[in-house]
Symmetry: C2
Subunit: 180 residues, 2 copies
């Protein structure tokens, strides 16, 4: 049986720039008591930006936990309480310098359900027009474009490991195929 | 330009049961210095277990960060250095009491590339035979089965938010369709 978990106590362990870590004491329906470590995250948004020739845009950037550069679709972290659609529109402009005529919701993902509140919202951006990149201080990334068909194959062949990128590419590919 | 990041210093901030949090000082190729908070995680494995009638098996369990029960495919955390295939076989047995004749690799995902080393490996298990569940202490979950076609629709309709579940279901659905 699924057991609900009631919060008895909550302690902020570390209040970082990216990671806000808590340790709670919880009680299950059956009286069992245990600890729960969890990270409070404002959530994020990612954008599959597809141009008229069905290319999809990637940003390549160094990801410290993996000590390597990874290919991802444009994405950004929300401010706590920020509207994810507005954040997506802003990040697309900042990271690849693009504005979109249409910005369609593709659903969300919970990357790390066991210990992190993060939710990432996915959008499909079409009708692109390009201006200049406007990166944050300390943000360095390269923009690349890949045909959507090829990107889908790369996901299926395990060549694009980032979770949000995989899901948004697959959902975009299936959606665009359905429209034909 | 992508900038590599060189570790200058690393500090263990919190050594928890689930979360091992570090704060490092890094230097970019261009001399820019900054901090990086990151979580060291041993990684995990998840299993899309499909029976002869093309049902896929789920476990429903309370997920504290979301204060609700979520539907996920069977999954587990590796020990540091553990073989993910062996871990997957064990978790399938523990969580839904099943053994599989075939256990095929579907690729991996990086759920949280910005601040967490977690990698989740995905498997497709077929040729299932069922025995008893053997849950860990303090682990409570309900097993449910859903037709694969229906599970795929639920992913596309944003009804199964867990990232590993979405990806493994979609990859399984595409693979099985390709075999027909």
């Amino acid at each position: 049986m699924v057991q609900n978990e009631k919060q008895l106590d909550s302690q902020l362990i570390y209040d970082g720039k990216v990671v806000k870590l808590y340790k709670d004491e919880v009680e299950l329906d059956n009286g069992y008591k245990t600890g729960r470590e969890w990270i409070k995250h404002p959530g994020g948004v990612c954008i599959a930006a597809v141009d008229e020739d069905e290319n999809v845009y990637f940003v390549e950037q160094f990801r410290y936990p993996f000590h390597t550069a990874l290919m991802e679709i444009p994405a950004g972290k929300l401010e706590f309480g920020e509207n994810h659609r507005e954040c997506g529109i802003r990040e697309l402009k900042e990271e690849i310098g693009a504005e979109a005529e249409s910005f369609e919701y593709l659903g969300c993902l919970y990357p790390t359900v066991a210990y992190d509140t993060e939710v990432i919202h996915m959008y499909l951006a079409r009708g692109l027009s390009f201006g200049e990149q406007h990166l944050d201080e300390g943000e360095f990334l390269d923009v690349k474009k890949i045909p959507l068909e090829k990107a889908f194959e790369m996901v299926m062949n395990n060549e694009l490991p980032d979770s949000k990128t995989q899901l948004a590419i697959i959902k975009t590919y299936i959606k665009l195929k359905g429209e034909k």
